[in-house]
Amino acid sequence: MKPTFGIVTFPGSNCDYDAYYAVKKVLDYDAQFIWHKEKSFNGIDAIILPGGFSYGDYLRTGAIAKFSPIMEYVIDFAEKGGIILGICNGFQILLESGLLPGTMQVNESLKFVCKDIYLKVENKDTPFTNKIESDTIKIPIKHGEGNYYADVKTVTELEKNGQIVFRYASKNGKVSNQFNPNGSISNIAGIMNNRKNIMGLMPHPENACDPVLRKTDGQLIFKSIAQSLFN
C-alpha cells in the first residue's frame, strides 16, 4: 500500500515542492499539497511541514504560522496519533506551536549554513528511523536559525526518554563541538515527542533522495514513515 503524504504550504514555504518531488516522484508514494488556509484534509496518512520562511520569518521563525487555520487540524491529527514530520522551518513551527519542546536561535556563527552534514542516529526505534541501519546518515542543512535551545531539565528529559533522534556528528558518529554547525545544545539536530508521532529536524531529508544527487540517505526517513504506517 502507498502512503499519502500531506504537505502543508504556508506563505513563504519554499521546500514544499522539494518534499513533494521526493515522496511522489522519487519514492513513488502519493502526495498532496494542503494550503495553510484549508480547514480540513482527508485521506492523509502523514503530514509534512516543509522548510522555508513562513511569513517571512517575521517576529520569530514559525511564530505566525502556528496561527494558520490549518494548524488546528494538524494539531488534532497529531492528538489522534497521526505522523507529523517538521523539516527546518517546519521544525521551527512545531516548536512555536508547543508540539515539541524548546526553541531556535540564530546560528552561533551568525552565518547561514548550507552544506552536507552527518547525523548520528540516536534512536532507531521510531516511526521516522526504523529503516536506518547505519549509525550515521548524510543529509544537507540550509538554515540561519538552527541553533536549538532548551533548558537543561528539558534536554535531560529528552535524553532520558530517547526523544533525541539525531545529533550532528562526524562520519563515524563522533559527537563533538567540532561537528556542531550551528551551536545547538547537545548537538541536537532532530527530536520527537514522547508519544513518538511528531518529529522535527533541521536537516533536509527531501534534498537527499534523488539518486542523481549521489546522496540518498534522506529516503530512509520517508521509507521508515511508510513502514510504520502499514505495519
Binding site: 540564530v106 546560528n107 551568525l110 535551545y149 532548551a150 551551536g183
Partner: protein, 83 residues
Amino acid sequence: MFKATVIIKRRPKILDPQGKAAEQGAKLLGFNNVSGTRIGKFIEFNIDTNDEKAAEKEVKEYSEKLLSNPIMEDFEYSLEKVK
C-alpha cells in the same frame, strides 16, 4: 484608547548573536568602553478600549501568546491613555 508599548528582551543567560555582532562593530569604531550590548524588540500598538484593566489584559496576552517566546524572552509593557 490606549497606546501600548512592549519591550522584549532575551533572558540574560541566552546568547544574543546580534548583540555580540553589534558590539564587535562598536569596538571597530573605537567605542572601547561599550560592553554588554543586547538587542531586543520594541513594539507599539493601539488598544481600542477605555477600560484600562481590559487594555492591560489584552497587551499581556498578546505579548505572551505571540510577541514573545516565553522560553527565551521576557517582556515589559507600558500603557498610555490617548484621545
